[in-house]
Protein backbone atom coordinates (compact mmCIF):
# COMPACT_ATOMS: atom_id res chain seq x y z
CA UNK A 1 0.00 0.00 0.00
CA UNK A 2 1.38 3.39 -0.87
CA UNK A 3 2.02 5.94 1.84
CA UNK A 4 0.33 9.20 1.04
CA UNK A 5 -0.41 12.38 2.93
CA UNK A 6 -3.71 13.48 4.40
CA UNK A 7 -3.90 16.13 1.68
CA UNK A 8 -3.18 13.64 -1.09
CA UNK A 9 -5.86 11.37 0.37
CA UNK A 10 -8.40 14.16 -0.04
CA UNK A 11 -7.28 14.69 -3.60
CA UNK A 12 -7.57 10.98 -4.43
CA UNK A 13 -11.00 10.64 -2.86
CA UNK A 14 -12.41 13.60 -4.78
CA UNK A 15 -10.81 12.54 -8.04
CA UNK A 16 -12.13 8.99 -7.77
CA UNK A 17 -15.63 10.07 -6.88
CA UNK A 18 -15.74 12.65 -9.67
CA UNK A 19 -14.53 9.98 -12.02
CA UNK A 20 -17.34 7.69 -10.89
CA UNK A 21 -20.16 10.17 -11.18
CA UNK A 22 -20.35 12.96 -13.73
CA UNK A 23 -22.89 14.83 -11.61
CA UNK A 24 -20.37 15.23 -8.80
CA UNK A 25 -18.56 18.53 -8.95
CA UNK A 26 -16.24 20.69 -6.86
CA UNK A 27 -16.72 24.30 -5.86
CA UNK A 28 -15.13 26.69 -3.39
CA UNK A 29 -12.62 29.48 -2.94
CA UNK A 30 -9.41 28.78 -4.78
CA UNK A 31 -10.15 25.13 -5.48
CA UNK A 32 -8.49 25.44 -8.88
CA UNK A 33 -5.02 25.90 -7.40
CA UNK A 34 -6.08 24.47 -4.06
CA UNK A 35 -5.46 26.74 -1.10
CA UNK A 36 -3.84 23.86 0.80
CA UNK A 37 -3.02 21.77 -2.21
CA UNK A 38 -5.84 19.29 -1.59
CA UNK A 39 -7.66 20.03 -4.83
CA UNK A 40 -4.58 20.73 -6.91
CA UNK A 41 -4.68 19.42 -10.46
CA UNK A 42 -8.32 18.39 -10.40
CA UNK A 43 -9.14 21.04 -12.96
CA UNK A 44 -6.79 19.34 -15.42
CA UNK A 45 -8.72 16.10 -15.07
CA UNK A 46 -12.25 17.43 -14.90
CA UNK A 47 -12.26 20.84 -16.51
CA UNK A 48 -13.62 24.21 -15.55
CA UNK A 49 -17.25 23.13 -15.65
CA UNK A 50 -16.80 20.74 -12.74
CA UNK A 51 -14.03 22.48 -10.80
CA UNK A 52 -15.17 25.98 -9.96
CA UNK A 53 -13.51 28.78 -8.08
CA UNK A 54 -16.22 30.69 -6.28
CA UNK A 55 -16.14 34.33 -5.24
CA UNK A 56 -15.44 34.98 -1.56
CA UNK A 57 -19.11 34.80 -0.67
CA UNK A 58 -19.74 31.89 1.69
CA UNK A 59 -23.46 32.40 2.22
CA UNK A 60 -23.91 32.70 -1.51
CA UNK A 61 -21.96 29.71 -2.72
CA UNK A 62 -22.97 27.42 0.14
CA UNK A 63 -26.55 28.26 -0.68
CA UNK A 64 -25.80 27.61 -4.33
CA UNK A 65 -24.61 24.15 -3.36
CA UNK A 66 -27.98 23.57 -1.70
CA UNK A 67 -29.75 24.59 -4.89
CA UNK A 68 -27.45 22.49 -7.05
CA UNK A 69 -28.20 19.50 -4.86
CA UNK A 70 -31.92 20.12 -5.25
CA UNK A 71 -31.35 20.15 -8.99
CA UNK A 72 -29.98 16.63 -8.80
CA UNK A 73 -26.22 17.13 -8.72
CA UNK A 74 -23.73 16.28 -5.97
CA UNK A 75 -21.66 19.28 -4.95
CA UNK A 76 -18.42 19.01 -3.03
CA UNK A 77 -18.20 22.42 -1.46
CA UNK A 78 -14.97 23.62 0.12
CA UNK A 79 -15.08 26.40 2.69
CA UNK A 80 -11.31 26.68 3.37
CA UNK A 81 -11.27 27.29 7.11
CA UNK A 82 -14.12 25.89 9.19
CA UNK A 83 -14.55 29.21 11.02
CA UNK A 84 -15.87 30.62 7.73
CA UNK A 85 -18.88 28.32 8.11
CA UNK A 86 -20.14 31.00 10.44
CA UNK A 87 -20.58 33.24 7.40
CA UNK A 88 -22.86 30.63 5.83
CA UNK A 89 -24.69 29.40 8.89
CA UNK A 90 -28.19 30.01 7.61
CA UNK A 91 -27.64 28.14 4.38
CA UNK A 92 -26.17 25.16 6.21
CA UNK A 93 -28.35 25.04 9.30
CA UNK A 94 -31.69 26.37 8.13
CA UNK A 95 -31.56 25.22 4.52
CA UNK A 96 -29.27 22.27 3.82
CA UNK A 97 -30.02 20.56 7.12
CA UNK A 98 -33.76 21.06 7.18
CA UNK A 99 -35.07 20.99 3.64
CA UNK A 100 -35.45 17.25 3.39
CA UNK A 101 -37.46 17.11 6.59
CA UNK A 102 -39.50 20.21 5.92
CA UNK A 103 -40.37 19.01 2.44
CA UNK A 104 -41.68 15.74 3.83
CA UNK A 105 -38.81 13.83 2.29
CA UNK A 106 -39.02 15.36 -1.19
CA UNK A 107 -35.64 17.07 -1.21
CA UNK A 108 -32.35 15.23 -1.05
CA UNK A 109 -29.22 17.07 -0.18
CA UNK A 110 -26.14 15.11 -1.30
CA UNK A 111 -23.64 17.83 -0.45
CA UNK A 112 -20.19 17.33 1.00
CA UNK A 113 -18.86 20.36 2.79
CA UNK A 114 -15.13 20.34 3.54
CA UNK A 115 -13.13 22.66 5.71
CA UNK A 116 -9.86 22.85 7.61
CA UNK A 117 -10.10 23.30 11.37
CA UNK A 118 -8.07 23.19 14.53
CA UNK A 119 -4.97 24.77 15.99
CA UNK A 120 -2.04 24.71 13.61
CA UNK A 121 0.48 27.06 15.16
CA UNK A 122 -0.39 30.73 15.47
CA UNK A 123 -3.35 30.86 13.14
CA UNK A 124 -5.21 32.65 15.97
CA UNK A 125 -8.84 32.74 16.98
CA UNK A 126 -10.52 33.20 13.61
CA UNK A 127 -8.63 30.40 11.87
CA UNK A 128 -8.05 27.83 14.63
CA UNK A 129 -11.41 26.96 15.97
CA UNK A 130 -12.80 23.46 16.27
CA UNK A 131 -16.20 24.18 14.88
CA UNK A 132 -18.05 20.88 14.71
CA UNK A 133 -19.72 21.25 18.09
CA UNK A 134 -21.72 24.12 16.66
CA UNK A 135 -23.36 21.69 14.26
CA UNK A 136 -24.05 18.88 16.74
CA UNK A 137 -27.40 20.41 17.64
CA UNK A 138 -28.55 20.72 14.04
CA UNK A 139 -30.44 17.57 13.06
CA UNK A 140 -30.12 16.75 9.39
CA UNK A 141 -26.36 17.07 9.13
CA UNK A 142 -23.68 14.40 9.32
CA UNK A 143 -20.31 15.27 10.81
CA UNK A 144 -17.05 13.55 9.91
CA UNK A 145 -13.69 14.08 11.65
CA UNK A 146 -10.92 11.92 10.18
CA UNK A 147 -7.77 11.33 12.22
CA UNK A 148 -5.39 10.20 9.46
CA UNK A 149 -4.91 9.81 5.72
CA UNK A 150 -6.45 6.38 5.34
CA UNK A 151 -9.70 7.25 7.10
CA UNK A 152 -9.65 10.60 5.38
CA UNK A 153 -9.88 8.96 2.02
CA UNK A 154 -12.39 6.30 3.01
CA UNK A 155 -14.66 8.64 4.90
CA UNK A 156 -14.58 11.35 2.28
CA UNK A 157 -15.57 8.89 -0.41
CA UNK A 158 -18.47 7.72 1.74
CA UNK A 159 -19.45 11.32 2.46
CA UNK A 160 -19.56 12.15 -1.23
CA UNK A 161 -21.79 9.14 -1.90
CA UNK A 162 -24.08 9.95 1.02
CA UNK A 163 -27.42 11.50 0.17
CA UNK A 164 -27.32 13.94 3.07
CA UNK A 165 -25.37 17.09 3.81
CA UNK A 166 -22.12 15.87 5.34
CA UNK A 167 -19.49 18.17 6.79
CA UNK A 168 -15.96 16.80 6.69
CA UNK A 169 -13.62 18.51 9.13
CA UNK A 170 -9.96 18.26 8.14
CA UNK A 171 -7.48 19.05 10.90
CA UNK A 172 -4.92 21.55 9.60
CA UNK A 173 -2.08 20.02 11.59
CA UNK A 174 -2.63 16.61 9.94
CA UNK A 175 -2.15 17.95 6.42
CA UNK A 176 1.32 16.54 5.82
CA UNK A 177 0.93 13.43 7.99
CA UNK A 178 1.35 10.22 6.01
CA UNK A 179 -0.22 6.78 6.22
CA UNK A 180 -0.64 3.64 4.16
CA UNK A 181 -3.77 4.25 2.15
CA UNK A 182 -5.48 1.64 0.00
CA UNK A 183 -5.80 2.62 -3.62
CA UNK A 184 -9.13 2.62 -5.41
CA UNK A 185 -12.34 1.47 -3.77
CA UNK A 186 -11.52 2.20 -0.13
CA UNK A 187 -14.70 3.11 1.72
CA UNK A 188 -15.06 3.74 5.44
CA UNK A 189 -18.71 3.75 6.44
CA UNK A 190 -20.13 6.74 8.27
CA UNK A 191 -21.16 5.79 11.79
CA UNK A 192 -18.61 3.10 12.50
CA UNK A 193 -15.94 3.77 15.10
CA UNK A 194 -12.41 2.38 14.86
CA UNK A 195 -10.74 0.64 17.76
CA UNK A 196 -7.30 2.09 17.20
CA UNK A 197 -5.78 0.07 19.97
CA UNK A 198 -7.33 -2.50 22.26
CA UNK A 199 -6.91 -2.18 26.03
CA UNK A 200 -8.41 -3.22 29.33
CA UNK A 201 -8.01 -0.53 31.95
CA UNK A 202 -9.49 2.58 30.43
CA UNK A 203 -11.25 3.70 27.27
CA UNK A 204 -10.03 6.87 25.59
CA UNK A 205 -12.41 8.19 22.98
CA UNK A 206 -10.27 10.53 20.89
CA UNK A 207 -11.46 12.75 18.07
CA UNK A 208 -9.48 14.00 15.05
CA UNK A 209 -5.92 15.04 15.84
CA UNK A 210 -6.43 13.87 19.43
CA UNK A 211 -6.24 10.28 18.21
CA UNK A 212 -2.51 10.55 17.57
CA UNK A 213 -1.97 12.19 20.94
CA UNK A 214 -4.00 9.53 22.73
CA UNK A 215 -2.03 6.78 20.97
CA UNK A 216 1.27 8.15 22.12
CA UNK A 217 0.00 8.45 25.69
CA UNK A 218 -1.22 4.86 25.47
CA UNK A 219 2.23 3.74 24.30
CA UNK A 220 3.82 5.45 27.22
CA UNK A 221 1.41 4.09 29.84
CA UNK A 222 1.77 0.58 28.53
CA UNK A 223 5.22 0.49 30.11
CA UNK A 224 3.51 1.00 33.44
CA UNK A 225 1.03 -1.77 32.69
CA UNK A 226 -1.82 0.65 32.21
CA UNK A 227 -3.69 -0.74 29.25
CA UNK A 228 -5.51 1.93 27.25
CA UNK A 229 -8.15 1.25 24.64
CA UNK A 230 -8.25 4.06 22.09
CA UNK A 231 -11.44 4.52 20.13
CA UNK A 232 -11.79 6.91 17.24
CA UNK A 233 -15.50 7.54 16.55
CA UNK A 234 -14.57 8.93 13.10
CA UNK A 235 -18.02 10.42 12.68
CA UNK A 236 -19.81 12.45 15.34
CA UNK A 237 -23.13 12.17 13.54
CA UNK A 238 -23.91 9.34 13.18
CA UNK A 239 -22.10 8.33 16.37
CA UNK A 240 -21.16 4.73 17.01
CA UNK A 241 -22.57 4.64 20.53
CA UNK A 242 -22.41 0.88 20.68
CA UNK A 243 -18.67 0.78 20.15
CA UNK A 244 -18.13 3.33 22.89
CA UNK A 245 -20.48 1.65 25.35
CA UNK A 246 -19.07 -1.80 24.65
CA UNK A 247 -15.61 -0.51 25.37
CA UNK A 248 -16.68 1.12 28.63
CA UNK A 249 -18.40 -2.09 29.62
CA UNK A 250 -15.02 -3.77 29.27
CA UNK A 251 -12.76 -1.12 30.84
CA UNK A 252 -15.23 0.59 33.23
CA UNK A 253 -13.48 3.89 32.73
CA UNK A 254 -13.59 6.56 30.08
CA UNK A 255 -11.68 9.66 29.09
CA UNK A 256 -12.86 11.70 26.10
CA UNK A 257 -10.21 13.74 24.32
CA UNK A 258 -11.30 16.47 21.93
CA UNK A 259 -9.77 19.69 20.64
CA UNK A 260 -13.13 21.45 20.88
CA UNK A 261 -14.22 23.44 23.89
CA UNK A 262 -15.48 21.96 27.14
CA UNK A 263 -18.91 23.54 27.26
CA UNK A 264 -21.43 22.19 24.83
CA UNK A 265 -18.84 20.29 22.88
CA UNK A 266 -18.48 16.88 21.29
CA UNK A 267 -16.85 15.56 24.47
CA UNK A 268 -19.77 16.84 26.51
CA UNK A 269 -22.15 15.07 24.18
CA UNK A 270 -20.34 11.75 24.41
CA UNK A 271 -19.97 12.09 28.17
CA UNK A 272 -23.71 12.58 28.48
CA UNK A 273 -24.41 9.50 26.39
CA UNK A 274 -22.10 7.38 28.53
CA UNK A 275 -23.61 8.74 31.75
CA UNK A 276 -27.05 8.07 30.39
CA UNK A 277 -26.63 4.65 28.85
CA UNK A 278 -23.49 3.27 30.46
CA UNK A 279 -23.77 4.44 34.05
CA UNK A 280 -23.75 0.92 35.44
CA UNK A 281 -20.46 0.14 33.68
CA UNK A 282 -18.59 3.02 35.28
CA UNK A 283 -16.14 2.71 38.16
CA UNK A 284 -14.94 6.30 37.89
CA UNK A 285 -16.30 9.65 36.73
CA UNK A 286 -16.33 10.40 33.03
CA UNK A 287 -13.45 12.75 32.24
CA UNK A 288 -13.33 15.24 29.36
CA UNK A 289 -10.01 16.51 28.10
CA UNK A 290 -10.73 19.47 25.86
CA UNK A 291 -9.37 22.85 24.94
CA UNK A 292 -10.03 25.62 27.40
CA UNK A 293 -13.11 27.75 26.94
CA UNK A 294 -11.16 30.60 25.37
CA UNK A 295 -10.85 31.76 21.76
CA UNK A 296 -7.68 30.07 20.49
CA UNK A 297 -4.85 32.58 21.08
CA UNK A 298 -2.08 33.50 18.65
CA UNK A 299 1.09 33.38 20.75
CA UNK A 300 2.63 29.89 20.82
CA UNK A 301 2.78 29.42 24.63
CA UNK A 302 -0.80 30.59 24.92
CA UNK A 303 -1.97 28.38 22.10
CA UNK A 304 -0.29 25.43 23.76
CA UNK A 305 -1.94 26.29 27.06
CA UNK A 306 -5.35 26.47 25.41
CA UNK A 307 -5.24 23.21 23.47
CA UNK A 308 -5.77 19.74 24.91
CA UNK A 309 -2.46 17.86 24.86
CA UNK A 310 -0.80 14.59 25.82
CA UNK A 311 -0.05 15.71 29.35
CA UNK A 312 -3.69 16.44 30.04
CA UNK A 313 -4.83 13.19 28.49
CA UNK A 314 -2.29 11.32 30.61
CA UNK A 315 -3.37 13.10 33.79
CA UNK A 316 -7.01 12.29 33.13
CA UNK A 317 -6.20 8.64 32.50
CA UNK A 318 -4.17 8.41 35.70
CA UNK A 319 -6.98 10.04 37.57
CA UNK A 320 -9.69 7.60 36.48
CA UNK A 321 -7.42 4.56 36.67
CA UNK A 322 -6.43 5.47 40.22
CA UNK A 323 -10.00 5.27 41.39
Amino acid sequence: MPQISFIQAINQAIAEEMERDPLTFLMGEDVVLGAFGATKGLIDKFGAKRVRNTPISEAGFVGAAVGAAMAGTRPICEVEFASFFYCAFDQICNQAAKLRYMSGGQATMPITFRAVFGAMGGAAAQHSETVYAQFLSVPGLKLVVPSGASDMKGLLKSAIRDNNPVIVFEHGALGWSREDVPQGEHLVPLGKAAVKRPGDNVTVVAIGAMVGKAMSVADKLEQEKISVEVIDPRTLIPLDENAILASVEKTNRIVIADEGHLRGGAAADIAAIVADKGFDFLDAPVRRVTSLDVPIPFSPPLEKAAIADEARIEAAIRDVVGR
Partner: protein, 324 residues
Protein backbone atom coordinates in the same frame (compact mmCIF):
# COMPACT_ATOMS: atom_id res chain seq x y z
CA UNK B 1 -5.86 71.17 -3.02
CA UNK B 2 -2.92 72.63 -1.20
CA UNK B 3 -1.15 70.12 0.98
CA UNK B 4 1.21 71.41 3.63
CA UNK B 5 4.83 70.39 3.58
CA UNK B 6 4.48 68.75 6.98
CA UNK B 7 1.63 66.66 5.67
CA UNK B 8 3.67 65.60 2.65
CA UNK B 9 6.60 64.60 4.82
CA UNK B 10 4.27 62.71 7.13
CA UNK B 11 2.85 60.77 4.20
CA UNK B 12 6.28 59.83 2.96
CA UNK B 13 7.30 58.74 6.42
CA UNK B 14 4.21 56.58 6.71
CA UNK B 15 4.86 54.89 3.37
CA UNK B 16 8.45 54.21 4.34
CA UNK B 17 7.37 52.80 7.69
CA UNK B 18 4.95 50.43 6.02
CA UNK B 19 7.54 49.33 3.46
CA UNK B 20 10.18 48.77 6.11
CA UNK B 21 7.89 47.06 8.59
CA UNK B 22 6.45 44.67 6.06
CA UNK B 23 9.71 43.84 4.34
CA UNK B 24 11.05 42.91 7.74
CA UNK B 25 7.90 40.96 8.66
CA UNK B 26 8.22 39.03 5.41
CA UNK B 27 11.86 38.19 6.09
CA UNK B 28 11.16 37.18 9.67
CA UNK B 29 8.27 34.99 8.59
CA UNK B 30 10.41 33.33 5.92
CA UNK B 31 13.05 32.69 8.58
CA UNK B 32 10.32 31.05 10.71
CA UNK B 33 10.75 33.62 13.46
CA UNK B 34 7.04 34.51 13.39
CA UNK B 35 4.15 32.17 14.11
CA UNK B 36 1.01 32.08 12.04
CA UNK B 37 0.07 33.69 8.75
CA UNK B 38 1.66 36.93 7.59
CA UNK B 39 0.09 38.90 4.73
CA UNK B 40 2.01 41.92 3.51
CA UNK B 41 0.84 44.85 1.41
CA UNK B 42 4.17 45.86 -0.11
CA UNK B 43 3.37 47.89 -3.22
CA UNK B 44 0.04 49.09 -1.79
CA UNK B 45 1.42 51.68 0.65
CA UNK B 46 -0.15 54.71 -1.00
CA UNK B 47 -3.76 53.76 -0.38
CA UNK B 48 -3.41 53.11 3.34
CA UNK B 49 -1.35 56.27 3.69
CA UNK B 50 -3.44 58.60 1.57
CA UNK B 51 -6.67 57.48 3.23
CA UNK B 52 -5.47 57.79 6.82
CA UNK B 53 -3.78 61.13 6.10
CA UNK B 54 -7.29 62.47 5.55
CA UNK B 55 -8.45 61.29 8.97
CA UNK B 56 -8.02 62.73 12.41
CA UNK B 57 -7.11 60.77 15.48
CA UNK B 58 -10.67 60.31 16.73
CA UNK B 59 -11.81 58.91 13.40
CA UNK B 60 -11.84 55.14 13.27
CA UNK B 61 -10.86 52.43 10.82
CA UNK B 62 -11.53 48.76 10.33
CA UNK B 63 -8.97 46.70 8.48
CA UNK B 64 -8.55 43.24 7.01
CA UNK B 65 -6.04 40.38 6.99
CA UNK B 66 -3.57 42.57 5.05
CA UNK B 67 -3.70 45.26 7.67
CA UNK B 68 -0.21 46.32 8.77
CA UNK B 69 -0.24 49.28 6.41
CA UNK B 70 -3.64 50.54 7.54
CA UNK B 71 -2.63 50.31 11.17
CA UNK B 72 0.69 52.06 10.68
CA UNK B 73 -1.00 54.77 8.65
CA UNK B 74 -3.51 55.34 11.45
CA UNK B 75 -0.63 55.79 13.87
CA UNK B 76 0.11 52.24 15.00
CA UNK B 77 3.49 51.94 16.69
CA UNK B 78 6.04 49.74 14.98
CA UNK B 79 7.40 48.35 18.24
CA UNK B 80 4.09 47.21 19.65
CA UNK B 81 2.97 45.86 16.28
CA UNK B 82 6.21 43.98 15.88
CA UNK B 83 5.89 42.57 19.40
CA UNK B 84 2.39 41.40 18.56
CA UNK B 85 3.41 39.53 15.44
CA UNK B 86 6.16 37.88 17.48
CA UNK B 87 3.45 36.78 19.93
CA UNK B 88 4.93 38.77 22.80
CA UNK B 89 3.17 40.08 25.87
CA UNK B 90 4.18 43.66 25.00
CA UNK B 91 2.32 43.47 21.72
CA UNK B 92 -0.85 45.41 21.06
CA UNK B 93 -3.03 42.41 21.92
CA UNK B 94 -0.78 40.82 24.57
CA UNK B 95 0.10 38.15 22.03
CA UNK B 96 -3.46 36.94 21.67
CA UNK B 97 -4.19 38.44 18.28
CA UNK B 98 -1.17 38.28 16.01
CA UNK B 99 -0.72 39.80 12.58
CA UNK B 100 -4.35 39.46 11.49
CA UNK B 101 -6.01 40.92 14.55
CA UNK B 102 -4.08 43.97 15.73
CA UNK B 103 -6.21 46.54 17.55
CA UNK B 104 -5.41 49.92 19.10
CA UNK B 105 -8.51 51.50 20.49
CA UNK B 106 -6.75 54.70 21.48
CA UNK B 107 -5.91 55.35 17.83
CA UNK B 108 -9.33 54.43 16.48
CA UNK B 109 -8.00 51.16 15.08
CA UNK B 110 -10.95 48.81 15.58
CA UNK B 111 -8.97 45.94 14.27
CA UNK B 112 -7.45 44.01 11.47
CA UNK B 113 -9.65 41.00 10.78
CA UNK B 114 -9.16 37.40 9.77
CA UNK B 115 -12.62 37.14 8.25
CA UNK B 116 -12.88 38.58 4.77
CA UNK B 117 -15.58 41.25 4.63
CA UNK B 118 -16.15 41.31 8.38
CA UNK B 119 -14.87 44.85 8.82
CA UNK B 120 -17.52 46.55 6.70
CA UNK B 121 -20.52 46.06 8.96
CA UNK B 122 -18.33 46.92 11.94
CA UNK B 123 -17.27 50.18 10.30
CA UNK B 124 -20.89 50.90 9.46
CA UNK B 125 -21.83 50.34 13.07
CA UNK B 126 -18.96 52.47 14.27
CA UNK B 127 -20.30 55.28 12.11
CA UNK B 128 -23.76 54.70 13.52
CA UNK B 129 -22.26 54.89 17.00
CA UNK B 130 -20.77 58.28 16.20
CA UNK B 131 -24.16 59.56 15.04
CA UNK B 132 -25.91 58.24 18.14
CA UNK B 133 -23.25 59.71 20.40
CA UNK B 134 -23.54 63.05 18.63
CA UNK B 135 -19.92 63.08 17.45
CA UNK B 136 -18.75 63.96 13.98
CA UNK B 137 -16.16 61.17 13.75
CA UNK B 138 -15.88 59.28 10.50
CA UNK B 139 -15.10 55.60 10.07
CA UNK B 140 -13.21 54.06 7.18
CA UNK B 141 -13.54 50.40 6.19
CA UNK B 142 -10.54 48.98 4.34
CA UNK B 143 -11.16 45.81 2.34
CA UNK B 144 -10.12 44.07 -0.85
CA UNK B 145 -11.79 43.46 -4.17
CA UNK B 146 -12.42 39.90 -3.01
CA UNK B 147 -14.33 41.13 0.01
CA UNK B 148 -16.64 43.12 -2.22
CA UNK B 149 -18.30 39.86 -3.20
CA UNK B 150 -19.26 39.06 0.38
CA UNK B 151 -22.80 39.72 1.48
CA UNK B 152 -21.40 41.97 4.19
CA UNK B 153 -20.23 44.44 1.53
CA UNK B 154 -23.66 44.76 -0.02
CA UNK B 155 -25.52 44.80 3.26
CA UNK B 156 -23.19 47.44 4.69
CA UNK B 157 -23.37 49.78 1.72
CA UNK B 158 -27.13 49.58 1.71
CA UNK B 159 -27.46 50.20 5.43
CA UNK B 160 -24.93 53.02 5.45
CA UNK B 161 -26.70 54.59 2.49
CA UNK B 162 -30.22 54.48 3.89
CA UNK B 163 -29.06 55.83 7.24
CA UNK B 164 -26.62 58.30 5.65
CA UNK B 165 -23.86 57.12 7.96
CA UNK B 166 -20.46 58.80 8.13
CA UNK B 167 -18.44 55.94 6.70
CA UNK B 168 -16.02 55.70 3.79
CA UNK B 169 -15.68 52.31 2.15
CA UNK B 170 -12.18 51.90 0.74
CA UNK B 171 -11.68 48.96 -1.57
CA UNK B 172 -8.05 48.23 -2.30
CA UNK B 173 -8.29 46.44 -5.59
CA UNK B 174 -5.09 44.48 -6.14
CA UNK B 175 -6.62 42.20 -8.73
CA UNK B 176 -6.56 38.97 -6.72
CA UNK B 177 -8.34 37.19 -3.91
CA UNK B 178 -5.71 34.75 -2.75
CA UNK B 179 -4.76 33.03 -6.01
CA UNK B 180 -7.94 33.76 -7.87
CA UNK B 181 -7.87 36.57 -10.42
CA UNK B 182 -10.62 39.04 -9.75
CA UNK B 183 -12.05 38.87 -13.27
CA UNK B 184 -12.96 35.20 -12.85
CA UNK B 185 -15.10 35.73 -9.77
CA UNK B 186 -16.35 39.31 -9.96
CA UNK B 187 -19.12 40.49 -12.26
CA UNK B 188 -17.77 44.00 -12.76
CA UNK B 189 -14.45 45.38 -13.90
CA UNK B 190 -14.53 48.23 -11.42
CA UNK B 191 -15.79 47.78 -7.90
CA UNK B 192 -16.61 51.49 -7.74
CA UNK B 193 -19.60 51.03 -10.06
CA UNK B 194 -21.31 49.00 -7.38
CA UNK B 195 -21.90 52.27 -5.54
CA UNK B 196 -24.64 52.96 -8.07
CA UNK B 197 -26.66 50.07 -6.78
CA UNK B 198 -26.81 51.79 -3.41
CA UNK B 199 -27.18 55.31 -4.77
CA UNK B 200 -23.97 56.59 -3.21
CA UNK B 201 -20.91 58.16 -4.87
CA UNK B 202 -18.29 55.72 -6.13
CA UNK B 203 -14.86 56.72 -7.43
CA UNK B 204 -12.01 54.94 -9.11
CA UNK B 205 -8.75 56.16 -7.63
CA UNK B 206 -5.16 55.56 -8.67
CA UNK B 207 -4.20 53.61 -5.59
CA UNK B 208 -0.48 54.08 -6.17
CA UNK B 209 -0.73 57.85 -6.08
CA UNK B 210 -0.81 58.89 -2.44
CA UNK B 211 -1.83 62.44 -3.29
CA UNK B 212 -4.78 61.37 -5.37
CA UNK B 213 -5.90 58.96 -2.67
CA UNK B 214 -5.61 61.75 -0.11
CA UNK B 215 -7.70 64.12 -2.21
CA UNK B 216 -10.52 61.71 -2.87
CA UNK B 217 -10.60 60.58 0.73
CA UNK B 218 -10.63 64.13 2.04
CA UNK B 219 -13.67 64.81 -0.07
CA UNK B 220 -15.44 61.64 1.04
CA UNK B 221 -14.60 62.36 4.67
CA UNK B 222 -15.93 65.91 4.40
CA UNK B 223 -19.13 64.58 2.90
CA UNK B 224 -19.46 62.00 5.65
CA UNK B 225 -18.81 64.53 8.40
CA UNK B 226 -21.42 66.83 6.92
CA UNK B 227 -24.03 64.10 7.32
CA UNK B 228 -24.31 63.39 3.60
CA UNK B 229 -23.57 59.69 3.92
CA UNK B 230 -21.11 57.11 2.68
CA UNK B 231 -18.78 57.01 -0.32
CA UNK B 232 -17.17 54.04 -2.01
CA UNK B 233 -13.57 54.54 -3.13
CA UNK B 234 -11.79 51.95 -5.21
CA UNK B 235 -8.01 52.26 -5.07
CA UNK B 236 -6.47 50.39 -7.98
CA UNK B 237 -3.21 48.88 -6.83
CA UNK B 238 -1.19 45.66 -6.74
CA UNK B 239 0.55 43.46 -4.22
CA UNK B 240 4.14 42.68 -5.11
CA UNK B 241 4.39 39.71 -2.82
CA UNK B 242 2.32 36.55 -2.56
CA UNK B 243 -1.05 36.42 -0.89
CA UNK B 244 0.58 35.03 2.24
CA UNK B 245 4.25 34.81 3.07
CA UNK B 246 5.50 31.30 2.34
CA UNK B 247 2.73 30.39 -0.08
CA UNK B 248 5.23 28.71 -2.40
CA UNK B 249 5.32 25.82 0.07
CA UNK B 250 1.80 24.75 -0.81
CA UNK B 251 1.51 26.19 -4.28
CA UNK B 252 4.64 24.44 -5.48
CA UNK B 253 5.01 25.31 -9.13
CA UNK B 254 1.39 26.43 -9.33
CA UNK B 255 1.59 30.06 -10.34
CA UNK B 256 -1.32 32.40 -10.74
CA UNK B 257 0.24 35.47 -12.29
CA UNK B 258 2.95 36.40 -14.70
CA UNK B 259 6.23 37.66 -13.29
CA UNK B 260 6.19 40.36 -15.97
CA UNK B 261 2.97 41.71 -14.45
CA UNK B 262 4.67 41.95 -11.06
CA UNK B 263 7.64 43.74 -12.60
CA UNK B 264 5.38 46.15 -14.41
CA UNK B 265 3.71 47.13 -11.15
CA UNK B 266 7.03 47.42 -9.37
CA UNK B 267 7.84 50.16 -11.82
CA UNK B 268 4.75 51.94 -10.52
CA UNK B 269 6.10 51.89 -6.95
CA UNK B 270 4.15 54.45 -4.91
CA UNK B 271 7.24 55.56 -3.00
CA UNK B 272 9.37 56.18 -6.04
CA UNK B 273 6.48 57.94 -7.65
CA UNK B 274 6.19 60.28 -4.69
CA UNK B 275 9.94 60.89 -4.66
CA UNK B 276 9.79 61.85 -8.32
CA UNK B 277 6.90 64.19 -7.65
CA UNK B 278 8.89 65.83 -4.86
CA UNK B 279 11.85 66.35 -7.16
CA UNK B 280 9.74 67.67 -10.02
CA UNK B 281 7.59 69.97 -7.94
CA UNK B 282 10.59 71.12 -5.95
CA UNK B 283 8.56 70.88 -2.76
CA UNK B 284 10.83 68.53 -0.87
CA UNK B 285 14.52 67.87 -1.28
CA UNK B 286 15.98 64.41 -1.52
CA UNK B 287 18.02 65.18 1.59
CA UNK B 288 14.81 65.61 3.52
CA UNK B 289 13.48 62.32 2.17
CA UNK B 290 16.72 60.53 2.95
CA UNK B 291 16.59 61.75 6.49
CA UNK B 292 13.16 60.15 6.84
CA UNK B 293 14.48 56.87 5.48
CA UNK B 294 17.33 56.87 7.98
CA UNK B 295 14.96 57.64 10.85
CA UNK B 296 12.60 54.89 9.76
CA UNK B 297 15.42 52.37 9.61
CA UNK B 298 16.35 53.24 13.14
CA UNK B 299 12.75 53.06 14.34
CA UNK B 300 12.32 49.65 12.75
CA UNK B 301 15.55 48.29 14.19
CA UNK B 302 14.43 49.44 17.62
CA UNK B 303 11.03 47.82 17.07
CA UNK B 304 12.60 44.48 16.20
CA UNK B 305 14.91 44.71 19.17
CA UNK B 306 11.94 45.56 21.41
CA UNK B 307 9.96 42.62 20.06
CA UNK B 308 12.81 40.14 20.29
CA UNK B 309 13.72 41.10 23.82
CA UNK B 310 10.13 41.18 25.09
CA UNK B 311 8.77 38.27 27.07
CA UNK B 312 6.37 35.70 25.78
CA UNK B 313 3.10 35.63 27.69
CA UNK B 314 2.86 33.16 30.56
CA UNK B 315 0.57 30.19 29.93
CA UNK B 316 -1.57 31.33 32.86
CA UNK B 317 -2.54 34.42 30.86
CA UNK B 318 -4.52 32.24 28.46
CA UNK B 319 -7.79 32.75 30.31
CA UNK B 320 -7.44 36.52 30.72
CA UNK B 321 -9.71 38.81 28.73
CA UNK B 322 -12.34 36.26 27.70
CA UNK B 323 -14.94 38.33 29.51
CA UNK B 324 -15.03 41.93 30.62
Amino acid sequence: MDISKDKLLEMYRTMQKIRHFESKARDLAMAAELPGFVHVSIGEEASATGVCAALRKTDRITSNHRGHGHLIAKGGRLDRMMAEIFGKRTGYCKGKGGSMHIVDYSLGILGANGIVGAGLPIATGSALGAVIAGKDDVTVAFFGDGASNEGTFHESLNLAAVWKLPVVFVCENNGFGEFTPMATVTSVKDIAVRAKAYDIPGHIVDGNDVLEVFRYTSEAVARARAGEGPTLLECKTYRWEGHVVGEQAFLGDGSYREQSEVEEWKRKCPLIRFEKWCAESGKISSAELNKIIAETEKELADAVEFARSSELPAPSEVTDDVYA
